[in-house]
């Protein structure tokens, strides 16, 4: 099991979501974050006060996946988040010790395997 953490451009977040869904990655968490990488500086001016904005807005994806899902997940993110300019972000793949699904108490691989729609709806 791995945790895939990706920090991407906010304007690419929708593209990444779409690419992940196409790759059958369904469980994920996103948050708005600010970060600093190698981006060229942004200069803004408010009434004669000029500032360099050193933190850029980013969106962070956190996706817990079973091992065989790591590659398609990362590939989907790389392909969809890339613009080719500095500041496209990073993908981190982190080992995970334990995963629990809160609703059922399922552990590890079972906890990150999506429930079948039929089972969730009717059973």
């Amino acid at each position: 099991m791995k945790l895939v953490v990706a920090v991407v451009r906010p304007e690419k977040a929708n593209d990444v979501l779409e690419a992940l869904f196409r790759s059958d990655v369904q469980g994920l968490t996103i948050s708005r974050v600010q970060g600093h990488g190698g981006e060229t500086e942004r200069v803004e001016t408010y009434r004669g006060t000029t500032v360099k904005v050193e933190l850029a807005e980013k969106v962070r994806f956190e996706i817990g996946v079973s091992d065989h899902f790591v590659e398609p997940t990362v590939k989907a993110i790389l392909a969809s988040a890339r613009t080719g300019d500095v500041g496209d972000g990073k993908v981190f793949v982190v080992p995970v010790e334990k995963i629990y699904r809160i609703r059922t108490g399922e552990e590890d691989r079972a906890a990150v395997t999506p429930v079948q729609v039929v089972a969730a709806g009717k059973a």
Binding site: K12, T45, T50, V53, E54, T83
Partner: protein
């Protein structure tokens, strides 16, 4: 020729009406600004705000003369350019100083140019936009205002346009359509959900527009009299009827009455009643407002399924609403109320045809002239922001500001007091957070 007289009551009323109409442009900034994404909020609002400056000055220097100087049937001459001879004396039959009349009409030119921006927000570069609206107010708005209000051919034809249904709304919407086509779509249009970032702003803008519109319509009587009161009444009742019908359409179609829909309905009602305000009875106004809701409502639904990225539905609200209003003016006009002309319901079906001619003439001229203007500007400067600028947001890429900056990670750039002006960035404050470079 009657001797020109100044009527103090009229002057007082028109001073207030002029200020009311001027308020509509910042109101439009809120209406449009709330409808776009947060990264484009300032740019969208600036498109309206800038019109106050650029079109305002162009109007005083040239536009007023092109619209209201003697001239011919198509355009005024330059005898009043640079406010030549525009002073404190009235020009009969108007009973207010010509200077005030110039200001009042100027507020119309400003809002008309600003209306166009709704079709090209989130992608048009700011500098070419400024060039476009400034020239447009002279080349397109000036002549069309002359046709209808300056003694041009539509006035002689007997077309009824009380406060600018064709001159302002059909005209702006046609230019908006052309601009949306010339500019092309936003990169995210029909690919991602593009949602309004601040619906309360939209409602605030719609409310302020309604408030200002009392000056727009009632003021178009140019006197504090009964016709002004009639126009005022219709300006209250017609949008109310549009709002009512729109809400019911929302409820029947989806089961939910939407706030953005309500704000849109108010604007559509106001647009539709604009040409009719001083010509129709109050009940006629209610009927007109109610009817006008339907075509605009479905035009918006239809537009969303097309490839035309008229981002804030200028065509559905102002083009369709304005055209329907102009035609219905020919239906509901009653001479017993307005003392000018009858429409279809009062036994004069020909008036509808005259109205249609006015709408068509406006569409043709505004469409062609706006297209040529945009293409010419496009030769000199690039009209559309590149994909990267669009992605970053127009606020940062065009203005170097953010609407909702939280200041985190912002490092103050100190300007050296002794450095020459062109020195550039200056030094970083050493104590600032971050500490890079």
């Amino acid at each position: 020729m009657e001797t020109p007289v100044i009527v103090p009551a009229d002057v007082a009323f028109m001073l207030v009406a002029t200020a009311l109409v001027l308020l509509m442009t910042p109101a439009l900034a809120f209406f449009y600004g709330g409808l776009v994404r947060s990264k484009n909020a300032l740019n969208t609002m600036m498109m309206s705000v800038a019109a106050l400056g650029f079109v305002g000055v162009a109007w005083a220097l040239l536009g007023y003369s092109l619209s209201f100087a003697e001239g011919g049937p198509l355009v005024g001459d330059l005898s009043k350019a640079f406010l030549n001879g525009v002073g404190l004396d009235p020009v009969a039959p108007v009973t207010i100083p010509q200077l005030l009349f110039m200001c009042y009409q100027g507020t119309f030119a400003i809002i008309t140019a600003a209306l166009i921006s709704g079709a090209i927000v989130e992608r048009m570069r700011f500098a070419p936009y400024l060039v476009f609206i400034t020239l447009w107010s002279l080349v397109v708005y000036g002549p069309i205002a002359h046709w209808v209000w300056g003694g041009g051919f539509l006035a002689k034809l007997g077309a009824l346009d009380f406060a600018g249904g064709t001159v302002v709304h059909v005209n702006a919407a046609t230019a908006a359509l052309v601009a949306a086509v010339v500019l092309g779509q936003r990169k995210d249009y029909a690919r991602q959900a593009i949602l309004p970032h601040n619906v309360p702003f939209v409602l605030l803008g719609a409310g302020l527009l309604w408030f200002g519109w009392f000056g727009f319509n009632a003021g178009s009587a140019l006197a504090a009299n009964g016709i002004a009161s009639l126009a005022f009444t219709n300006t209250m009742l017609a949008p109310a009827a549009t709002l009512l019908v729109w809400t019911l359409l929302d409820l029947f179609r989806s089961g939910k009455a939407t706030a953005v829909g309500a704000a849109t309905a108010i604007v559509v009602g106001l647009v539709a009643v604009t040409p009719a305000a001083g010509f129709v009875s109050p009940l006629g106004g209610i009927a007109l407002g109610a009817i006008a809701a339907v075509p605009s409502y479905f035009a918006i639904l239809l537009r969303a399924r097309t490839r035309l990225d008229d981002s804030l539905d200028v065509i559905a609200a102002h083009g369709v609403g304005g055209s329907v209003g102009a035609l219905l003016t020919g239906v509901f006009a009653i001479k017993a109320w307005n003392g000018v002309a009858d429409g279809l319901v009062a036994g004069n079906p020909g008036q509808v045809g005259t109205q249609a001619i006015a709408v068509l003439a406006t569409i043709v001229y505004s469409g062609v002239a706006s297209y040529v203007l945009l293409k010419l500007i496009g030769v000199v400067m690039s009209l559309k922001a590149v994909t990267k600028e669009e992605g970053l947001g127009m606020d940062f890429s065009q203005h170097g500001e953010e609407a909702y900056a939280d200041g985190e990670g912002a490092i103050l750039v100190l300007q050296r007091p002794d450095s020459t002006a062109s020195e550039g960035a200056g030094a970083l404050a050493p104590a600032a957070q971050g500490g890079r470079s």
